[in-house]
Amino acid sequence: MNNPLIEIKDLHVQFRVFEGILKVLDGVNLTLKFGEKVGLVGETSCGKSTIGKAITRLLYIPPAIITRGEILFEGKDILRMSQVEFRQIRKKISIIFQDPTAALNPFFTIGTQVQDVIRFAERSGKNTGKEDIRAHAIQALKEVLIPDPERALKSYPIQLSGGMRQRVCIAMALVRMNKLVIADEPVTSLDVTIQDQILRLLKELVEKYNTSIILISHNLAIVRELTNRVYIMYAGSIVEVAKTKDFFAHPLHPYSQGLLSVIPKLTGGGIGEGIYGSVPKYINPPKGCRFHPRCKQVMPICKEKKAPLFKVSEDHEVACFLFKNGV
């Protein structure tokens, strides 16, 4: 069981657009062990959703081009698999999207959609009867604390509130007791009090089923509450990997430090001045480290070479030449 559940090696993804080629993912490495909760954090358009979509093969090819790299799921490469083979793997992976309104089909009832998911999974043969599937669906909705699940099964997505819709999506993601859940900004569109409820629910259920989770979010605070390990992304590459606790105690990469300093804190004391400059355009990204035009501690080597991940301690790696020889 010590083998990683998912292992992404040197993934390069590009998009062909009118202006040229967007070089988005630039050598991403990521590993996820069984039952591990991992956060993937970065600002808008840093490529975090692209990773999620690459794992589930939801990237449209073209315009996307996967130029290099592999994604190993239990040792098998997802990217070089046939459609039929992949369908068996896909049953073990589920994804929760940011916007539950767009994720649910407005023309079918919640019942139809939840039951379809169960039918697709065809678990163990005993839940194949119509009544069994229905009972299973009700059970799933109960688990996500939807009041009156019988009525919810008959209603259309439009009849439910945003929080309820996201609960349905979580129920659909967890009903199959999958090995991996990819949660792509699951609570961004919701209010804080609802956010709190949904996160608590997600945490409980993930622990109950021993599911691994990749939480993709731009909100560091949410990641801190839910995950064990965190990957920080900037402009298509991973800049820092650490245990969540270590990361918040000692962020090392200049970008991570900048990011943490601009988050408004409850303790007051004003807001940091922000990170100088703006995110690079993917059409012509800067040579070397993609953060170097904005970095205060830039060195000549940063402009030439991209820093690999340097190990500074057992579980803490950072892609910055400042830490070439450890801390």
């Binding site: 600002e43 808008t44 509130s161 929080g163 309820m164 209010d191 804080v192 009090t193 609802i194 956010q195 709190d196 409820q197 996160l199 608590r200 731009h218 909100n219 560091l220 605070a221 949410i222 801190r224 509450e225 918040f248 900048g258 990011l259 943490l260 601009v262 988050i263 408004p264 804190k265 409850l266 303790t267 007051g268 004391g269 004003g270 807001i271 940091g272 001045e273 922000g274 990170i275 703006s278």
Partner: protein, 322 residues
């Protein structure tokens, strides 16, 4: 004039007639904003905070209630009855810069409109100069003049929206979630810019947001809204040290934070339950009754009134009524 109220809102109500009945978007809101402060209105979606802003700017005419500007002008009759010179005094920056800028006009044309309407520049060259000056003020280079909104990023669009609001030298600006669609690093820049402008141009802000951590860092007073009513108004430091209303406590304990020091500041973990009910045909009694962890029998019957617990700290809850 320094300590006077720049804006007084008294028992403001806005009802919408919909198919299912009456939607009480704003239901009796009373507050006042002092000259030169940042007054923050916080609430979940659907709590009516934007509707309040739209009534102050004049988009909606209030159902009942008064809005008094600078203690002498009654501006509660909607934009059509508002004197022209008052229109430029109060400006607004909207939440989504993508939809509040006309996609078919370039930045220069967008910025020219308010300047022309309020007769700030007589000649074309003056107009050009003013537009350049505005762009420089929000740290955009001159070549942005002929760009279109779709060519800009979210932060840049919001800068244009801010420049447009400030182009007519207002003294009162409504900021309706100006940074909620932006990344934190961009948010920091926009907020710092707004604070700087406040000092330079001597502005007063109403800052509408759902982010309490942001409020802690910039606002001087805060009002919490729930279902069209205000639950609590307090100075910021007092508010975060001693939140009184049960809803406020839930709201504070739900905020995800990034350090232990912040964790310690939050009230003890209160589990939030349920969701904001539909504002159509509300039952009598306190609007928070259905979700309140400390509800009493009286709350289902009697809608509590605003009570001043300490100087400047007002709360609307039956727990504190004598």
């Amino acid at each position: 004039m320094l300590n006077n109220n720049i804006l007084t809102v008294d028992q403001l109500k806005k009802y919408f007639i919909v198919n299912q009945g009456v939607l009480k978007a704003v239901d009796g809101v009373t507050f006042s904003v002092k000259n030169g402060e940042i007054f923050s209105i916080v609430g979940e979606s659907g709590s009516g905070k934007s509707t309040v802003a739209y009534m102050i700017i004049g988009t909606y005419k209030p159902t009942t209630g008064k809005i008094i500007y600078r203690e002498k002008y009654d501006i509660s009759q909607g934009i059509s009855k508002r004197p022209h010179k008052l229109k430029k005094e109060i400006q607004i920056v909207f939440q989504a810069p993508g939809t509040s800028l006309n996609p078919a006009r370039n930045i220069k044309q967008i910025l020219e409109v308010p300047i022309k309407i309020h007769n700030f520049s007589k000649t074309q060259s003056e107009l050009n100069e003013r537009v350049l000056e505005l762009l420089e003020m929000v740290e955009l280079s001159a070549d942005y003049m002929y760009k279109y909104p779709s060519m800009l990023g979210g932060g840049e669009k919001q800068r244009v929206a801010i420049a447009r609001a400030l182009s007519v030298n207002p003294s009162f600006v409504l900021l309706d979630e100006p940074t909620s669609s932006l990344d934190v690093s961009v948010q920091a820049k926009i907020i710092n810019m707004l604070i700087q402008f406040k000092k330079i141009f001597n502005l007063t802000y109403i800052f509408i947001t759902h982010d309490l951590s942001l409020v802690r860092n910039i606002a001087s007073r805060v009002a919490i809204m729930y279902l069209g009513k205000i639950c609590e108004i307090a100075p910021v430091s007092e508010f975060f040290n001693n939140p009184l209303h049960p809803y406020t406590q839930i709201l504070l304990s739900s905020i995800p934070v990034i350090s232990h020091e912040e964790e310690a500041l939050k009230p003890k973990r209160i589990m939030s339950m349920g969701e904001i009910p539909s504002p159509i045909n509300l039952p009598p009694g306190c609007s928070f009754y259905s979700r309140c962890p400390k509800r009493m029998d009286i709350c289902g019957i009697k809608d509590p009134e605003m009570l001043e617990i300490e100087r400047g700290h007002v709360v609307r809850c039956n727990l504190y009524s004598k």
